[in-house]
Each structure stands twice: as structure tokens, then as C-alpha cells.
Symmetry: D2
Subunit: 290 residues, 4 copies
């Protein structure tokens, strides 16, 4: 792969760009607050003065922005990606954005002759640093193939999922299963406790069985102590449940468990728990015990 552009030096972007540098890629970085690029420069990165400047210089540019407005801004604002993207250049948006944002960016890039790939990741700070992200790519297949060497050092695994939008959909499906599981887990913890069993023992038993999984292991001990420090805020999880249900509605898929879980998360929001971790739905199940 030629020199790679990288827009967005937040916690995730910085770690991902660093991995590229460490594995010998030439990287030109940009960030709204330029000082956040310093560490990268020490490791050999060049700096571009605007997204457009980065795109001009590089055949491929990756964006890793914090949210949809930021993702739109680097593309459409003055000095944005759109000013220099053209045939022969590619833009890979690895931010987590909604389908609308993704398709707006996709249309703008391709209408200028550029190639586009959405490639949201699963995994947070630690996996980003360790090059252990899971990358859900969708859009231009040729661009995906060109990006594989970069994906290989940023992630442990990348998937090509077809047309633009499929990356976001896959994340919704996964998060929908995760949200329902968190509810089932919460109900189990409360049922055990109220039935005179030890919640800790339940965690130990679960850990040894067919449904053992990292989420139960990571979050269970905090939950039984009433600690719901936000990693993935409940209101975002509820939004993903809602979007997954809407996707099901479009396709006439009846999902009674997801629907019940969504209402439980809404109950939690109603109780003011929206900014806590999504595991705080446990507090709603606990009810008066709390």
C-alpha cells in the first residue's frame, strides 16, 4: 500500500495510526487540534494541514472520527475530503456512524469518482492499541482489497460485507443480541439473589459452562456491586436496539425478545440511567431491592 492518510487522532485513531507506523507504513495524519499529532510525528508521521491536503497527497485516506457530525465535517467542510477526492483515490471511513451519514458520504465520494469503504470497528481502546480490532467493511471491494495490509495491522480480522450500509447493519445485529443477553443476564442475577443463591457463585458456574462469554465475565462482578461505570452508555445501546427493531420491521422479522429488551432499556432510561453503562438495566430488574 502507498502512503496512507489518517484523519482523526482521538483515542482510537491515534492508536490505529501508531500501529500503521510501527509496521512500516508511511502515514500522513491530520487532526482538528494539531497538537494531538505530535506523538505520531515523533514516530515518523507527516502532518497534513487539512483533510483535503492529506487526500491530495495520499492514494488512500482513513477517517476515524468521534461521531456523525465530525465524520460529515471532515468530508464536507471547507478544506474537506471532498475537495481533493477523485478517480484513483479512496476514502475509508472507520468511524461508527448511522446508515444515513454513511450513505451521504458514500454518494459524495463516488460522485467525484473516488472509491468509498465504510469500515466501522468492534473493539475499544485496548484492542485498538493491540491491533486486535474487528473490522466490518462494506462498499468498494477493490478498495477493501487494497486496504487489507493496513487492516491486518490494525485488526485481528476484517470482513467484507458487500454494499455500503452492511457494516452498520452487522453492528446493529451484534448489538441487538448483546442487549438481549445483558437483559437475560440481569434477570438471572436478580433471580439467583432473590431465590437465596449467591450471585457470585452464579458467575462462577456460568464461567464454566456453555454460555460463558467475555461480557458476563467482565461486567458481572461490577454489576453485583452496583457499579455501572459507563463503557457503552445505556442510551446508545437502547438506540441500537430501536434501530435493529426498525431493521426487523422493514424486513417483517418478528423479534419479541429484542422488543422486550428494548422496553427494559427504555424503563431504565425513564429511571434516569441512560448515561450509565448499559449493564445498568440490572438496576431496573432489581427494583425495590435497590
Amino acid at each position: 500500500m502507498e502512503e496512507i492518510g489518517f484523519l482523526g487522532m482521538g483515542i482510537m485513531g491515534k492508536a490505529m495510526a501508531m500501529n500503521l507506523l510501527r509496521h512500516g507504513f508511511k502515514v500522513t495524519v491530520w487532526n482538528r487540534t494539531l497538537s494531538r499529532c505530535d506523538e505520531l510525528v515523533e514516530h515518523g508521521a507527516s502532518v497534513g494541514e487539512s483533510p483535503a491536503a492529506v487526500v491530495k497527497k495520499c492514494k488512500y485516506t482513513i477517517g476515524m472520527l468521534s461521531d456523525p457530525p465530525a465524520a460529515l465535517s471532515v468530508v464536507f467542510d471547507k478544506g474537506g475530503v471532498i475537495e481533493q477526492i477523485c478517480s484513483g483515490k479512496g476514502y475509508i471511513d472507520m468511524s461508527t456512524v448511522d446508515a444515513d451519514t454513511s450513505s451521504k458520504i458514500s454518494e459524495a465520494i463516488t460522485s467525484k469518482g473516488g472509491q468509498f469503504l465504510e469500515a466501522p470497528v468492534s473493539g475499544s481502546k485496548k484492542p485498538a492499541e493491540d491491533g486486535q480490532l474487528v473490522i466490518l467493511a462494506a462498499g468498494e471491494k477493490l478498495l477493501y482489497e487494497a486496504a487489507i495490509p493496513a487492516f491486518d495491522v490494525m485488526g485481528k480480522k476484517s470482513f467484507f460485507l458487500g454494499q455500503v450500509g452492511n457494516g452498520a447493519k452487522m453492528k446493529l445485529v451484534v448489538n441487538m443480541i448483546m442487549g438481549s443477553m445483558m437483559n437475560a443476564f440481569s434477570e438471572g442475577l436478580v433471580l439467583a439473589d432473590n431465590s437465596g443463591l449467591s450471585s457470585q457463585t452464579l458467575l462462577d458456574v456460568l464461567e464454566l459452562g456453555a454460555i460463558a462469554n467475555p461480557m458476563f465475565k467482565m461486567k458481572g462482578p461490577a454489576m453485583i456491586q452496583g457499579n455501572y461505570t459507563p463503557a457503552f452508555p445505556l442510551k446508545h445501546q437502547q438506540k441500537d436496539m430501536r434501530l435493529a427493531l426498525a431493521l426487523g420491521d422493514e424486513n417483517a422479522v418478528s423479534m419479541p425478545i429484542a422488543a422486550a429488551a428494548n422496553e427494559a432499556f427504555k424503563k431504565a432510561r425513564n429511571e434516569g440511567l441512560g448515561d450509565l453503562d448499559f449493564s445498568a438495566v440490572h438496576k431496573t430488574v432489581l427494583g425495590d431491592k435497590q
Copy 2:
């Protein structure tokens, strides 16, 4: 531990008794059809002519029967455990039985001065052969402690959960979470498929994330091929959901996800899927696609 009695040479019991023999325990076995004891005898086991005869000879006797009627039968029928159990002797029922059965046996044993432990296991044929069962014991603590050396060779881990009944309750809680998860998983598989995503890719993505677990890994590939060969029959899973909900009712625990999952399993029963694996609830979610 002294010589151990072992009643019931079904698939599970035979594998468990064999592990005891392999690790140097002296074992006296009994089975309704005596020929099923032959292989054990070749490996050094003695044979008792009745449950009572086994109990008479051994300080501790383990029962591993196929169902509640069989579990009651070895205790209460002519020549049953009850005829020889007495102070200084213990009976450990490792069968999976309901709370009523367990407490009937418990009362009978203790009223004769004997010690009683219920110790249902989690895990099937393979873990039984490999000594990798998880043992959920409840009842007489001293008997539990005496049984630890035997439990250590039959299982990878044993838990003491308090009073008789708690072993069964813990299994219900675990199976309730499992049943809800299976429903969430099924909804996710169908949502992916109907939204134009590959079910196999969903399995691959799940396997790499925070909710990866052996059940998804084991059952997922079969499910997307419509293969629901029974390991744990759906009607039994639904019965456990119902019992878990009843336990919640007693303790005023509201469990909307478990309730929705229970109704989905009932729908599957209504569609004639009760004897298939509990993963066949997937077929119900699929609906007309099938």
C-alpha cells in the same frame, strides 16, 4: 474416601464410575440391567445385587439415574437405598430431578439418620468421560466435604450451594439465561439473513467479540443449515423456563425477557418442534422463510 457405591450405569453414570476406578477408588456398582456393569467389573469394580446391598457395603453411595421416577425407584422400591441407609452413611443423588423429588428423597434419607446431598451436574457425555463436569451440590455440608475427592475426579469444579433444593435452583437460573440467549441468537440470525447479511459471517463476527460463547459456536453452524438434532430437547428447555419463571413469581422477580422467551418456546412446541433441540426455536423465528 472409603469404598464408594454407584447406582445407575447409564451413559453418564458409567463414564463417571469409570473415572473413579481409573483414579484408584474402590467402587461397588449396581444397575437395573446388570449386564451394563460388565465393563466396570473388567476395570475392577464390584457389583451389588440391589441398591440396598450397595448401601450396606459402602459408607457413601452415589446415584445417577435418568429421571425422577428412576431416582425415586432406587430409593423407595423393594431393595432400595432406604432399607439400609442409616446414621454414618451418606447418599449423593447426582441425577437431574425436580425440587419435589429431591426433597422427598432428602426427607426419607435424613429421617433414617443418613446424610443426603443433591449434586446435579452440568455437562453431558463427553465432559463426563473427561472428568470435566460441573457439580452443583447442596444439602449436608459434611457429606459434601467427604465427597470432594470423588467430585475432583468426576468434575472440573464442584460448588456447595447450601440447603437441598439450591442445586436444582441454580440449574434453573443458568438454563433460563441460556434459553433467553438462544432466542436472542435466533432473532439475530434471522435478522441478519433477512437484511441481506450472511448468517455465517455473523457467526464469525460474534466469535471474535465480547459475547462469543461455546453455545453460539457449537450450535450456530447447524442452525443455519436447519439442523436441530436434539442434544437438549426443546420441551425440556421450555419446562425449565417455566419453572424458572415460577421461581421468579414466588420471589416477585419480574422477568420480561425470560417470559417472552418462554412464549417463543411454547410457540415452537405448538408447531411440533418439542422433541428437536432447543435451538429449533430458530425455526419459529424464521417463519415463512422455512
Copy 3:
């Protein structure tokens, strides 16, 4: 109809027996606390000194007791119905009891050669006084036919539903629909209120439309004022939901709405609302607004 016996002079029994007297029936009454019979005697009733004495005197005897223990007690205790029931005599239990209680009484009566009818009623104090009850009879058809003249003055309508147990089942089905409707109604009231609409206007609109019904009209105004004075306690409604779901389980009927409503009632019990009216589930839906 010949002279009728009447056991149980509670609020309901007294009103029902009074209607019989007013319409010219000869009635012999009994009550545990005999003084509660005085008013009836003023209106021409005779008094029996025990249930057995009443049965001895009358060809047909009606029981209207407060709960299953009381219903069992008048039949099986010393001086009970069972001592004098015999071929040619009938016993009609109009109490609301569970299926087990009903079938115990049925078996005892019929094994002595007597005829038995269960005939629980729908309607409370006012309909009892006005002869406007709805009577759900099941058991001996000939006894039902003989009782029609009495049923005609106590109720506005009676049904014969077949074998013993069907009266109780029909009540469960009706109460299940009622409990689900109460939940839907509560959700609607809260949705209107939280969306900036007037709850009172919602009541007015509902009253004019296709789903107008006495329950919404009667309970709605109290509910929007947070008044849940018990007419039918929430814990009893939840018990009926549970029994209806169990009936569905036996017959493989999947009832996701009833299951969700049952969990909402359990949530309300968990919040300490079990002794309020079943409309108090509204308070649970309100959540933090309260």
C-alpha cells in the same frame, strides 16, 4: 324448585339469598356466625344449625364462601355437607375457587351419590343485589337445569359449560383478557400524558369509540388521580394471569401479550402494590413521573 339451602351469608351470599326470598323461594340459611342470618330471617328464611342440617332439609343447597379453605370447610368439617349429601340431593358451589378445590368437593359429593355443580359468578356486590350476576356453571347438567329458576333471579344470565373445572377455566380466560387490557390501557394513559395530551380527553375519546367498555369508564378517572382503592386486588389478578398462562402451557398456546402483562403485574407486586386494585399496574408504567 323445592326449598333451597344457602350456606355463607357474606356480602355476596346475603344479597343472593335475599333475592331468592324476594322472588318467593323458600330458603334455609346457615352461616358460621349465625347473627349474620338475622336479616334473612326477618324476610322469611329458616335457619339451619349446620351445613349438614341444611342439606338434610333441602333438596338443593347453594354454597357461597369467601375462599377455598372456607369452601372446603363447609363440606368436610364436622357437621359439613358431606354428612347428609346423598342420592337425590344436589350441592351447588358458587364460590370462586381453584380447580383443585372444586374437583375435591366434586369427588366427595358424587362419591356419596349426590349431584354437584360449580357455578362461580362474575360480578360483585351491586350486581349480586340487583340480580345481575353472570353465572358460569359446570358439572351435573340435570342439577343445572333444576337450578335455572334460582339462577334466573340471582343473575342476568347463566351458562352451562360442561364438565367440572370449566367454570373456573372460563373465569381465567376472561380475567386474562381483562388483565392484558388493563395493562394496554395503563400504557395508553401514560403515553398520552407524557406526550402532552390530556389523559381525561383520552378517556372521553375512548368512551366514544369501538373499544369503549365499562372497565375503562369506571376505573379510568380514578387511575389518572392515582386512586387505586382495591376492588379486585392486583395480587389476585396476577395469580389469575399466572394460572391462565399455565393453562396455555398445558395446551401449547403461546400468549406473549398475557406473558408481558403478567410480568408487569409481578413488577407491581415487587414494588409493593399487590394489595391495591389491579389498576395500580398503572403506577408501575408511570415510573419516575410518580
Copy 4:
């Protein structure tokens, strides 16, 4: 009230305009296919050549169009309402449209200085002919007050609900309760039938009790014969459930019963029942019995 304009001579509009004529109002009508105005003219109506012409002539104009595109068309197309609406004139849209359509029309009318009222109705052909509609008005209060004489002859009752959008919201709340009730009713019918009770008797018992309502009475007999001729198509009912749940989501109202009902309607859509009456959800509950 001065001369009234009336746009849209469909089944509903024709019956409503006829009632105005019958009660002595002067009415100028318009319809895309002009011949549909003939009968009105025989009863004394004038005809306008376009919506704009009607608005020019009348102080108040009512629109009753079949769907959102038609409602938008009479306002915005060439010769539309917008060309002549101005200060001192009012437009009352009685069509059933979504919130977006309503607010687009509202903004256009008021930006030209006109008054606007949305006034969707509850009730179909027969109530329209009999002047028995229920009118849910929202928007300009003064216009509402001016329209009361007309509303009084078209409907049995009208409500003023505040700002534009509230009429649509009130309909959603009512339809949400109705959809949940239809599900509860269906579950009850199937539970009765599968438990050996007569569905017809259940209808009779319900009719006499606290939850008796026109919908059960009207639709019940057809449902138990498997007749789901569409009056209100299931796919529209499901859409209203979805929109009501979305309204709840905005306001953090948890509605588990509505959510379960919505999934049941989606199941029915998945089974190809979307174009039948919404009572066809009964067929889904029936399952294999069908």
C-alpha cells in the same frame, strides 16, 4: 358559519358534505373527478373549478382526502389551496395523515397568514353518513371555534387537543390500545378453544361483563369463523403500533404490552396477513390449529 368549501368527494367527504347541506349550510365542493360532485349539486351545492377557486370563494374550507399525497396535492399543486389562502381564511384538513404531512401543510397555510386546523376523524362510512363521527381537532383554536357548528352536524363529538400534531398523536394512542386489546382478545379466543371451552360462549360471557366493547362484539363472531375481511388492514394497524412505540421512545415511556403486540402483528405480516383485517393476528395465535 359562512359558506363552507369542501375538497374531496370520496366516500367519507361526500357523506360529510351531504350532512352539511342537509342542515342548511351553503357548501361549495370540488373533486378531482368532477362528476362525483353531481349528487351534491342536486342537493344544493355549488361547484368550484379548483381548490384555489373554492378557497377564494369561502371563508372556511374543509379537506377530506384519501391519503397524504392527495392531501398535499390539493394544497400545493397548481390551482391548490395555497394560491388563495390568506389572512382571514381558514383551512381544515380532516384527512388522516402523518405528522410530517400535517406540519408541512400547517406551515404553508400559516406562512400565508391563513388559519389551519388538523381534524382527523374516528369512524368510517356509516358514522359519516349518520353524522356520528368523532373529530380530533388541533391547531388554531379560533378556527376550531368557528367550525363547531359544522363539526356538530358531521360528528357526535369534537375535541380540541392543542397544537398541530396532537390530533394524530391521539389517534396513535387509541389505536395502540386497540391493537393490544385485539391481541389479548385473540389469545383469549385461542386459549378458550384449546382448553375445551366454546369460543362462542366466551364471546357471550365477555359481552355481559366489565370489558364488553363494540370491537369484541363486532369482530369476535367473524374471527372464530376465520373471516378477516379487511376493515382496518393489519399492516396499517402495525404501522400505528410502531409509530406509537416511537412516540413512547421519544418520551421514555416503556410499553412492554404494546411492544409484544407489535411483534405479533409483525409475525402476522411475515405470514402474509398484512392486507387482511388487523383481527387476522388471531390466525397467528392459532398457529398449527389453522
